[in-house]
Symmetry: C2
Subunit: 425 residues, 2 copies
């Protein structure tokens, strides 16, 4: 279905809603077959997808899209194999739909419990990353939800080709093609229109920069999962193993700096800063990291070493860098670190490195974030890494789901209550 | 703290937010002691509450408040004992905070799982029912949440006295009084202001009529639990035990007609309507129920019997009566009943009466509602009846919580991940 007008969009949303009633009752077997068909097609029947992607890529390059975004736009046979492998992982996960929770017999003989059901229609608005089109379609299908997808304009041709591939693949498994709706029109007015469709869309998942998230928060009429903005701290405690701390900080900052769970600020206890900061700074800088340091950190580092270190400004605390930049601050105590994180954190991922049992326990108890870590890299806040298979996004809100959102987080439940004539007294 | 201005309201919300950080880490013992103190005070130290309530009641009566609302406003020593008993039930329930979910060791040695945490500050806007002030305070305290409460204007004096009682009681247990904030100003502009305080209020629970719910849905900037509107059907299948069906329908309609889980429409399979409708109609009418019947039901009942039966209009389907009125429709099949419920139901509580296994199973599978029943009264959709102790409200949305919201439904979780130096490859 082409999205030429707002009426077309509404018709797509309504078709998704109708399809969602069928999806809610599909067997696990049929859903898994649909996923395996998609995986196969991505590996073997991808000529049109790659051709469309090449066109998108060339146009985006000549329009001057930056390298990081070009990289996200690009599909290759190898990348398609990676996406196919993720989809097979999702197929292998247990089906959340129908799972029964807290079932019990009440004193009056009623048997009551909750049964997981899909949410209905998931809407998603995201950047020019065609892999997201496939990931979200797969998670929605497996969790019995229909979806309405609106990807970035640079990936329009790729997404059209991928949607055609998905439709063919799921249709062969007996899944209605209306289950996956793609908004094939880059007009911004359709985004606003989509946010008004609460009659059809049960949950909206925006994936993108802060601008998009704020826009959705302000204009969405349906529940939306907001998140993805990660101002992540790693606190090196007085009792840290310093080599471990250096490895964790390096990994959290450098392994993939453009993502939300990458490190933004290192906090270091003053008692160990003299010993560990120079090493950490030198390792980071040799990987190209620019350091924005408070005055105590700067005075430890001194003017020498050829380090790329400069004074931090107030703006640096609480900033999500999404690049090879890190802020560095020396703190007097665990309490100071906790205060700093409470003030400047975004509630995404926070880590402590310590061998001190009580410090670890206090950090886990007191830090209010989607994920709190002891002696590990914040880069593990990720649906796949935490065993959820994949994720439609990472929530930093407390309502409904927090942290990586996988299959189960795309469900609701209903109370199922069976009796033999019970009435209320 | 008095709420004279919007600034006062913001200060109350901010104080609640600060207090919520302390509440999140209170021991179960301290929280339970606070609840038991409130229960004791309600039973033994209630002179000021009863005096204030008498004043409220007299003023409301002379202002012409209707009998049902006057009844909800009234407090008596006996009713206070009932409220105290509910609070002791809440104290006896397990503490949801700190409960650990899905903890496991991942292949890389990380130990990861979810830990339940409070939401923060719960806001509630409700009618002139002073018992709600105590119920919500108790549920919030036990689940580690602070609350900001705004009750109806007729109950202002009662709520002030109850808040003073609660503050004294929890303070003696070592709980900060800022945990329970009451908006002691009936000005409507404060309701609108409250809906804008998303910086402080994590979840809003409106309790009241459709007007309030819609207003909150439209204006709340924070997540809100919408629901409480129940258009509830009971379907008497061809294979129903007719005596059981009559009892269930009578209970669902008559036991407490003013509440959301009371029956609104009876659907009867045409094969059994001739036998069971006259009996059901006569029982309902002798309890004062007015019946709005489709033409087939009317022709079964005939013009005689002294029944209070009249033709239904299109408006009657999908209407929440909240009174001694019921709509009656004869359907050709289970499919027709399912279609009718899908078209006119509000997703609250739906029941089938049947001895047919497949019909029961289809009803449970296919009806999309917060609670689906086989052979029981819809009146059981209630936190206390389903073993949750009490409820802050009943959600008919699918996001976060569905059905009765008790302690667990007032929590979120955080991922807790402990390692020994893991970094991501």
């Amino acid at each position: 279905m082409n999205t030429n007008t707002i009426e077309d969009l509404v018709a797509q949303a309504a078709a998704a809603k109708s399809a969602s009633r069928i999806l809610a009752r599909l067997s696990t077997q049929v859903k898994n077959q649909a996923l395996l068909n998609i995986a196969c097609a991505l590996e073997t029947d991808h000529a049109e997808v790659l051709a469309a992607n090449e066109k998108d890529y060339k146009a985006a390059r000549s329009d001057g899209l930056d390298e990081a975004m070009l990289d996200r736009l690009l599909l290759t046979p190898e990348r398609l194999r990676g996406i196919a492998s993720n989809i097979r992982d999702v197929a292998a996960l247990p089906d959340p739909v129908g799972e029964t929770l807290d079932m019990r017999t009440l004193p009056n003989g009623l048997v009551a419990g909750k049964r997981r059901v899909p949410l209905g229609v998931i809407g998603s608005i995201y950047e020019s990353r065609p892999d997201v089109t496939v990931d979200i379609s797969a998670l929605c299908l497996k969790s019995g939800n229909a979806c309405l997808l609106r990807g970035g304009k640079e990936s329009l041709g790729s997404n059209r080709a991928l949607t055609a591939l998905i439709h063919q693949a799921i249709s062969r498994a007996g899944v209605p093609v209306e289950a996956v709706q793609f908004v094939d029109n880059p007009d911004r007015s359709l985004v606003e229109a989509m946010l008004k469709l609460k009659e059809y869309i049960g949950l909206l998942v925006p994936r993108g920069g802060e601008g998009l998230i704020r826009f959705v928060e302000e204009h969405a009429t349906m529940p939306a999962v907001t998140g993805g903005i990660g101002v992540c701290h790693t606190y090196i405690d007085r009792a840290a193993k310093l080599e471990q701390a250096a490895n964790i900080v390096f990994n959290a900052k450098v392994q993939r700096p453009t993502v939300c769970n990458a490190l933004d600020t290192v906090l270091i206890h003053m008692d160990v800063a003299g010993e560990c900061l120079p090493r950490i700074a030198s390792e980071l800088c040799s990987a190209g990291v620019e350091l924005h340091c408070d005055h105590r950190a700067l005075s430890i580092l001194g003017p020498h070493h050829g380090l790329n270190a400069m004074p931090a400004t107030e703006d640096d605390w609480g900033r999500e860098f999404l690049s090879l930049t890190a802020a560095v601050k020396i703190v007097d105590s665990l309490d100071d670190a906790l205060d700093h994180i409470e003030t400047y954190g975004s509630g995404h991922s926070e880590a402590i490195v310590t061998e001190d049992y009580s410090a670890a326990r206090r950090f886990l108890d007191e830090v209010d974030a989607a994920a709190v870590f002891v002696n590990a890299s914040t880069r593990f806040t990720d649906g796949n890494q935490l065993g959820l298979g994949a994720e439609v996004g990472i929530s930093t809100q407390k309502f409904h789901a927090r942290g990586p959102m996988g299959l189960r987080e795309l469900t609701s439940y209903k109370w199922v209550i069976t009796g033999n004539g019970q009435v209320r007294e």
